[in-house]
Symmetry: C2
Subunit: 356 residues, 2 copies
């Protein structure tokens, strides 16, 4: 049997298709009685409502926006911080009447979602601006919102003051008296290309802002963000090495958690033998043993702001206006819990100047 469309319903009721369309989409355009009748007939015929695809074409808007992130979905969602961020965005967009599509950033041979999926706009989260997928989205002239990425004059952005946060973390350790400090930074490429991967670079810079003037040359390891064993291994090597650091600055809480685990496995006590500072203040930070000192950023605010900006941009576009371009920089805050303390040497009166 043929598909039931607006026309089918229209013929059955004996009105024009336009009237049926109005019955569903603009109730004020027809009499209540006729509308009732149309809706009843539609239900009877099993007609659910205007076909979304056709409506999209005719109206020029889809009701969906995309989100593109660095790496695979699994990678992005592996840490609860990322998951929460995504959830908050989905929720706020929902409030604005938009659904959220996860864009696989690599397609199969012939399908490239970032180019082929219909959407009204997109959030780009922590990608390299040079990313090929980002390029596609740009070319499509969609409203975009950039999150955790370098600013761009054309698009609204939401960033966190990572650098200041990192400085605060480093400063905290220096003030406690630590001199042998190790950094667990994210991504092999963090410094390779200045435009690449913004957040890792900013945090690294923030640490150096404080350590360099203090005359401290930290041990530095790059690990895959929250890739579990990689971070654990790196941490373990650092802590088992000859000049064991007395403190570790980690790129994320997830990585910090691995440091705690490594320390524990090596029989080291945190913070007595080694201090650890995380980043993000993700939900786990509080639950770790010892509770993690970390740099707090407000994910909920970040997600909400990004989503709200996109909703605004999509609305503006629909109305034919130029979307406003606002740049948000959210503040960070050092949260002190139980994973940091002065180095043991200081307590014992030894001056632990690090000769590395």
């Amino acid at each position: 049997m043929a598909r039931v469309t607006l026309k089918t319903v229209a013929e059955r009721v004996g009105v024009s298709p336009m009237t049926v369309s109005n019955a569903f989409s603009r109730p004020d355009q027809l009499s209540a009685a006729l509308r009732e009748k149309i809706l009843a007939t539609a239900a009877e015929l099993g007609y659910v409502g205007p076909d979304p695809a056709a409506r999209t074409l005719a109206r020029g808007s889809t009701g969906t926006v995309g989100i593109l992130f660095h790496g695979t979905p699994r990678y992005a969602l592996s840490d609860d911080f990322g998951a929460l961020f995504l959830a908050v965005i989905a929720e706020e967009l929902g409030r604005g009447g938009l659904a959220l599509t996860l864009l696989p950033n690599l397609g199969t041979r012939d399908v490239l979602p970032v180019r082929d999926v219909a959407m009204d706009g997109a959030i780009i989260y922590s990608c390299s601006p040079a990313d090929e997928s980002v390029e596609w989205l740009r070319r499509r002239q969609l409203p975009l919102v950039l999150v955790d990425q370098p600013q761009d004059d054309h698009f609204p952005s939401v960033n966190v003051d990572d650098r200041a946060g990192a400085r605060a973390a480093a400063m905290h350790l220096v003030e406690l008296g630590h001199r042998r400090i190790a950094l667990l930074a994210a991504g092999p490429e963090a410094l390779a290309n200045p435009t690449d991967w913004y957040v890792p670079r900013e945090r690294l810079r923030g640490w150096h802002d404080v350590l360099d003037p203090a005359g401290i040359t930290p041990a530095l390891r790059y690990v895959e963000k929250s890739a579990g064993e990689a971070a654990y291994t790196a941490a373990r090597e650092l802590l088992a090495g000859p000049d064991r650091p007395t403190a570790v600055l980690a790129f994320s809480d997830a990585i910090a958690a691995d440091v705690l685990r490594a320390a524990d496995d090596l029989g080291l006590r945190v913070p007595r033998d080694v201090s650890v500072v995380g980043f993000d203040d993700s939900p786990v930070a509080r639950r770790l043993v010892p509770a993690l000192s970390t740099v707090r950023q407000d994910v909920v605010e970040k997600g909400t702001t990004a989503a709200a900006e996109l909703v605004a941009a999509v609305r503006a576009r629909r109305a034919g206006d130029d979307p406003p371009v606002r740049h948000h920089l959210l503040r960070t805050e050092l949260v002190l819990r139980e994973s940091t303390a002065p180095p043991a040497e200081v307590n014992h009166g030894t001056n632990g100047t690090f000769v590395g």
Copy 2:
């Protein structure tokens, strides 16, 4: 300036629009030379490729599928098990050339994503079959895959043998000698309506399958799944009560984590004073202190299977076939770690028959 479409490009090159369409979508239909020329002109004009919305209408497929889950996105993603499940699905779908749209299950006044978003199919995850949103999807006659829901003759499903898993967990405690056992089940409504919320009911049933014949009447509390404080509070009340249970069966690892926390705060040692068994074997289970004994289910397999079924269903539909209806029941496995032990009374020779 007017929008650049296939036609614009066609006029510029001096060929028919169809040829331009073919240049993008069916390269084998024209000479390589002409195709090059068309692509070059398109690039020059800033034409990115066929408009996805128009293509969707003409071809009848969108390249996107939806996922609907119980509660808000935040709720669903709050526990790392849910996040991982979602990620695995997104990844597997990506391999099949499909993007994944998160469907807010309640819309605003006039937008109802579940009805208005264009998609080729959907995964319904742990919803009540009576859910209004589920009804919309059904009515749209989309290919659907049901996960963690009662079987339905019309759609493929993926379920976990929750009942058997729950039985194994309960049996383990009984064999250790526990008689005073508390259950932390999910959702207030778990048993209210037999068609509601499948998984909580199955697990509860599984526990009872073992406890009832053993003559054990467990204390029972319903808590919001992974709602943090609610579970903590319930656990605390149970453990601080007069006839403190010697063991707790929790609906999920997230809830079990709260039980551990409550026990710790009350000065109780796990497993010496109280044994705890979780469910899911989510990534945290291993990291908890003590490491959690739990019922393992394979999220990756669950997600992959669900996604693969949906890809198959969508492909079948495109080809005009009837999608196959397969039902998967994944097995569970009891994983013993450090959170369970015989009750203290048994160790001390006292027979702790529970009079409650």
